[in-house]
């Protein structure tokens, strides 16, 4: 089954310093029918203005992934970690029994655009930890590139859940096939462009900021209707 969530159905926000959309219930947006997809709890498409960000606040028992699409994001936490990451970088915080952190845009001129993703961990109550990872942005072209994974992929930022986050860029007409194992879920998010998705006897087209939640589709064909940049999350 392919369930499409058009960009227009997202909860959009504009606080001046922070603009974007929530794909799941978050902050002031609460829809009891849209709280999670498997362990996936949050997908925030955030644009943070220069010099602005989130002050010190706690997290626990959540795997938090920040994918930087443009600009730079600075992270600081109570574990002593400080990191500044740009495009091609991923920040992973396994909040476990608790961590305090801040996130802000250190630039004086440039917005930072991030996808922030929260996932329930496979195991609660673990020691908190933080890591950054990098990927080769050229390797996104024509491929599904894993950028964070709890499935033991070598050279990929690890996380505490049986899942993998992929990014991909395709030229118009290029196709990638993805095999969805039995009982697994796929979350698709189109960052830019247009993606045709076929599987389980269904055909849909996703535009910019559209998402889809897919189950029971063993063979997925992902075809770029136009040049497309998208994220695929393979979930339990």
């Amino acid at each position: 089954m392919i369930q499409v969530y058009p960009a227009s159905s997202r909860f959009e926000y504009d606080k001046g310093w922070l603009k974007g959309g929530h794909s799941f219930s978050f902050a002031e947006y609460y829809d009891p029918e849209n709280v999670k997809f498997g362990p996936m709890r949050v997908c925030n498409d955030d644009v943070i203005a220069p010099g602005k960000g989130f002050g010190a606040h706690p997290h626990s028992d959540m795997e938090i992934i920040s994918i930087i699409l443009s600009g730079r994001l600075r992270h600081e936490d109570s574990l002593g970690n400080v990191a500044v990451t740009g495009f091609g970088g991923v920040q992973r915080m396994s909040a476990g029994t608790g961590v305090i952190h801040t996130e802000h845009n250190p630039s004086e001129h440039e917005d930072v655009h991030i996808l922030q993703l929260w996932f329930e961990p496979a195991e609660r109550g673990k020691q908190p930890s933080y890591a950054t990872g990098e990927f080769d942005t050229a390797a996104l072209d024509g491929a599904l590139l894993p950028v964070a994974s709890g499935q033991g992929l070598e050279g990929v930022t690890d996380m505490g859940q049986d899942m993998t986050i992929y990014l991909s860029r395709l030229e118009a007409g290029q196709q990638i096939d993805f095999k969805q194992a039995v009982g697994r879920r796929v979350f698709l998010f189109v960052i830019e462009g247009e993606l045709a998705v076929s599987g389980a006897g269904e055909n849909v087209v996703l535009g910019r900021r559209d998402t889809a939640r897919i189950t029971e589709a063993p063979e997925l064909a992902l075809t770029a209707s136009s040049p497309v940049f998208y994220m695929l999350v393979d979930l339990p």
Partner: protein, 116 residues
């Protein structure tokens, strides 16, 4: 040892994902007692004046609670204490309208010492 509530201090119980405020002792008609009981940093927070429906809401998301104790003396930066709440650590006694939260790890932080 039990610490009765003080002026310029308050406790907050919030949902970690939506930020929904369940309890704010600074504005709500509740009283609380915070007992730092264990050498492991665990605490027992007892809040009186909690309606049954609110207790039910809190217990419904007890895996995702942010529990805070704020010290906010005038003229100086606040000190915040955040407490980890485990899976089966929230109970309610309707006869006394008391919600009891047994917390795990405590993190004390001063927001002004971070970027803000």
């Amino acid at each position: 040892m039990a610490e009765p509530q003080q002026d310029h201090e308050r406790i907050l119980v919030k949902h970690a994902v939506t930020g929904r405020m369940f309890v704010n002792s600074g504005t709500d008609d509740v009283t609380y007692e915070l007992e730092r009981s264990g050498e492991d940093g665990s605490c027992v927070l007892s809040i009186r004046g909690i309606a049954p429906w609110l207790a039910e809401d809190i217990r419904g998301v007890q895996r995702e609670l942010n529990v805070f104790h704020f010290e906010e003396p005038p003229g100086v930066p606040p000190i915040k204490h955040w407490f980890y709440v485990g899976e089966h650590d929230v109970s309610y006694e309707e006869a006394t309208s008391t919600l009891t939260i047994r917390t795990g790890a405590e993190i004390t932080y001063k927001p002004d010492e971070y970027w803000a």
